[in-house]
Each structure stands twice: as C-alpha cells, then as structure tokens.
Amino acid sequence: MIEPILEVKSLSKRYGDFYANRNVDLKVMADTVHAVIGPNGAGKTTLFNCLAGAVATSDGHIFFEENEITGEAEHARPVLGIGRSFQITSLFPGLSVLENLRLAGQALKPAQGLVFWHPVPHDCPDIFHAHEVLERMGMQHLAQKEAETLSHGQQRMLEIGMALMARPRLLLLDEPTSGMGVDDIPQVISLIKKLREICTILLIEHNVGLVAEVCDRVTVLQNGEVIADGTPGEVAANEKVKLAYLGEAL
C-alpha cells in the first residue's frame, strides 16, 4: 500500500461565525492525481490556501510526509516540497518568462537571494532547470518574452511552471484550466499526465472531462465539508454529489 504524502485531519477554517472549511479530512496518496471538486463557495480554494500556508488554519492538523506542517509559514512550504499555482494567474508580469522561473528556483536557496555584490549569473543551475521546465511545457521559444505579453493559456502554463521550479513532491494546482479556451485544455491534460511521473498532484478543477481523464481519486466539498470521496466513477454515482451540483431543484 502506498503512503499518504499529505494527510489533513479535521481541518477547520472559520471567518467569524462562518465556516469556510469544517472538519475536512483528506488523504492524498503518493504518486496519484487527486482532485478536489465542489460547487462554487464550497471552500476549495480556502482549503488550498490552508495547505499552502497562505491563511492560518483555525483548527486541525496538516501532515506532509508524516511531518506536521500546520504552523509552517507560507514562504517555507516550497522549500519543504510543496509547490502551488494560483486560480487567478499570478506572475511577475514585467519580467521575462525565464526570469519568472529563475526567481522561483532561487527562492529555494534563501542564502542566494542575499547576494548583492555580483550580478545574476547567466549559467546558474536555476537557469538550466528553467530551460528544462520550459521544454517540458513546450514553451522554449517564449523564454525571453515578458510574461505579460503571453496569451492567457501560456500564462496559465507558466503559472504551473513556476510551481515546478521548486521540484515539488506535492503540486497544488488551483483550477489549472481556469479561463482557458476549450482548445487549450488538452495541452493541460497532457502536461498533468507528464507531471504525475515526477510528483503527486492535488488539484481543484471544474472541468469534468479533465477530472475524469487524469484523476485517480476525487474528494467532493460542499459548504466546507467533505460529502464524498472515491474514484471518479464512484463519486459520479454518489447521490449526495448529484444533489450538491444540481441543487434543491431536483
């Protein structure tokens, strides 16, 4: 049996009286692709923010590779091996694609960011790695372009690329296809299939086709609580899930 790489135990996140997440339990097995789905407002992104450390959890525990990381700062988590991408594209718009990636690589070596007496070297390992990542995404020709000049689809890919620079063992993808045209989605699917060879992936996604095609396991959230967990097939057949998505109209 494979080990869970990430284990969430009865995690809650309160904003005043409102529970964005309530007693969420989640196990992500190593080397799988795991999806978190749910209607809008179900608390998916809040859960991600807790996992990435962007917001503090109110209750509960998060274990990564059997070590508790609940209280770790956001900037410390990439170093631990957790990379994330954002639902709303979040890049360094005025910098080149290569520089966006290089910065993400440099971040893992905090001592290097303190160097102020010599220029950024042209041949540092981060730049090689950045080229590798670009190659994996088929974006080598865009290396010198400014990030803001890329198309939306390319920006979404760069978004994932930046998370990859940390060589994460767990990759958190927040709606990797958000805002993408239908034509670009197969590209993301094939990228995820490639990435699962190198890391475990936890993703939030609305695109049912993508979830059914690439995910091994699906957890469904509604009103901040887990209502179902299983293979895509099991979840699709679950009555509660059908009700959650189609609402009380049924």
């Binding site: 990435a52 900037h75 979040s90 360094f92 290089r102 960011g113 007496w117």
Partner: protein
C-alpha cells in the same frame, strides 16, 4: 544602460559625469550638491523604484546622517572616514528599526507609518537642543580631513578638494548600488515590486528582504546627509523635516523610477533649476510643479526614460533599415 550592461561601463559613465559636472555647472559646490542629493534620491529609488515601497520619511535618515557626522566631527574631532562611518551606522540602524515596524502594514498605511517616523525624528531633533542645536541646527561643522593613517591627512577645506571627495564617494556608492540592483538580491526586490503575493508563495521571506532594502536605503541616504552637512559646514534642522523627504521623493520620481541614473537626472534638474530660477523668480517651485505634472501625464517613466526614448528615436531614425535587416536574419 540595461540589465546586462557590464559594471565597467557604469563605472566609466559615472566617472566621466563626475569629472564633467563641476566644469559644466561652473561651481564645485553646486556639483557636490547634485551628487549628494543624487545619492539621497537613489536611496529613495531603491525602495520606491525597485521594491515598490513609497517612503515618506527619508529625511529621517538624511538628518540622522548629518547629525551623526557633525557631532563626531565637532565633539571628537573625528577624521572623514569615521564621521561617515558613524553616519552610516546611524542611518542603517534607524532604517532597520523604521523598516521593521513600517512593513507590517501595506499601501497607504505603510506610507503613513514612514511619515510618522519621519515626523517623530523631526520633533526629537527639535526638542533635543543640547545635542542637535534644536531650531538653530548645529553650527560650525568642520569639514573633517581625510586621514588614512598611512599617508598625511588631506585637508578637504577647499571646495574643489571637497568636491573630489564627494565625487569619489558618489562613484563608489553608485557602482556598489548598481551591482546591488543587478544582483540576485535585486532580482528578488523586482519580484516583490511586481507581485508580492507570488514572491511569498514561491518561497521568499518578503519581510526580510524589505528590511534589507530599508537598511541599504538608510545607509546611502545618511551618507548623503553627512556629506551635505560638511559641504554647508552646518547641519540645519531642515535636513530632517518633511520638506526634505518631499524633495527627495520629488527628485526620485522626476528623474525616473527603477533607474539609478534617473535619480542623478532628477537631482540635477531640481537643483540646477532652483539655482537658476530662484534669482529670477521667488516662486520658481511652481515651474517645477508644472514639470512634474507634465512628467506624470506624458512621460511616466520620468525624465531619464524620456531621454532614453528620445535617444533611441534619434538612433532608430538613422538605423531604421539596418534594424529591420537584423530582425529578419534573427527569424
């Protein structure tokens, strides 16, 4: 000048500038003033232009540098280097303290905090008459001699000798800071300016970097304040007041954010304009205000970027055909 310009080119550029400036302005005093305020504007630029933090209390560091150097020159008869060292220490430590507290807040609250610390410094200097001279400032600040132990002390009493020293300090500081903005640390500052949230998410401890850039800014601004006091033989209370903070920001923004050369242009234009116009018309500041409005509306990159674009336009006009050919061969 771009990111990949080698440091030797920067060195030649500023060294030539430092040689030409006093001749062009026909006054070593005015030239020294330009270089001194260029340093202060560069200190502001590190925060505003490179990191995206608007500091409204730079006079605190400027004034602290002026007082620290003046006090050690007056009371301890320190020579030049220890004087500047005291100034740097005062400015750097103050900046770390102010930075540490101010960066806890963002946006307008951050700006207000730096303003509040600046005002706090002003009133402390105002009240501590025994130390700072209060409203009268510190009078009779000597220009400390340059004593390097191994060679006989060099007097900097003549204006030309003092200009030479200011120019040397300026060139060394400029080159060091140009290195800094091109360095890995500089690239993190750029990242913070562009997208702070993402910088945190990919693993940068942004608060730490902000404090570091504050320290550098405080050091260079205090250095400018110290040299200014020695230039004037006087450390007035106005060094630490809000108007000095404004002037520093004004020069920085007018010249152009995100380029150290812009800060030289900003300081130069401001001081030369004030020198020429103040004799003709006491309300000359109005004209600078109009210039600022013009720059904000039509040349948002500041005068330096404007000059650069103009130069590229002139160059491009002549080389239009050549450029096109090169582009084709690249494809």
């Amino acid at each position: 000048m771009n990111k990949h310009t080698p440091i030797s080119i920067h060195f030649i550029a500023v060294a030539v500038l430092a040689c030409v400036l006093p001749v062009a302005l026909q006054s070593p005093i005015l030239a020294a003033e330009v270089l001194i305020f260029a340093l202060a504007a560069i200190g502001c630029n590190l925060l505003l232009g490179y990191t995206g933090l608007l500091p409204f209390g730079q006079a605190l560091f400027f004034g602290a540098g002026a007082y620290a150097a003046s006090l050690s020159a007056i009371h301890w008869q320190s020579s030049m280097l220890p004087c500047l060292l005291f100034a740097i220490l005062a400015g750097g430590l103050l900046a770390i303290a102010v930075g540490y507290l101010s960066i806890r807040r963002q946006g307008i609250y951050f700006v207000m905090l730096t303003l509040a610390f600046g005002q706090l410094g002003y009133f402390i200097a105002y009240l501590a008459e025994g130390i700072t001279g209060g409203e009268d400032g510190l009078l009779d600040v000597p220009r400390a001699a340059l004593d390097l132990w191994i060679v006989p002390a060099i007097s900097l009493d003549s204006d030309w000798a003092f200009y030479g020293w200011v120019a040397l300090v300026f060139v060394v500081s400029f080159i060091s800071l140009q290195r800094l903005v091109d360095s890995p640390l500089g690239s993190v500052l750029q990242a913070i300016k562009q997208n702070e949230q993402r910088a945190i998410a990919i693993g940068y401890q942004v608060r730490f970097y902000k404090i570091a850039v504050f320290a550098f800014s405080g050091i260079v601004t205090a250095l400018a304040g110290a040299l200014y006091a020695m230039l004037l033989n006087f450390a007035p209370l106005s060094n630490i007041d809000i108007e000095t903070s404004e002037v520093i920001i004004f020069m920085c923004v007018l010249g152009g954010l995100g380029s150290l050369y812009g800060s030289i242009v900003g300081a130069g234009v401001y001081l030369v304009a004030s020198e020429m116009l103040s004799d003709i018309w006491p309300r000359w500041m109005l004209l600078l205000g109009l210039l600022m409005i013009f720059v904000m509306l039509f040349a948002r990159g500041g005068l330096w970027l404007g000059l650069k674009l103009l130069w590229q336009g002139v160059k491009g006009y002549g080389q239009d055909k050549k450029v096109k050919k090169v582009e084709v061969s690249h494809d």
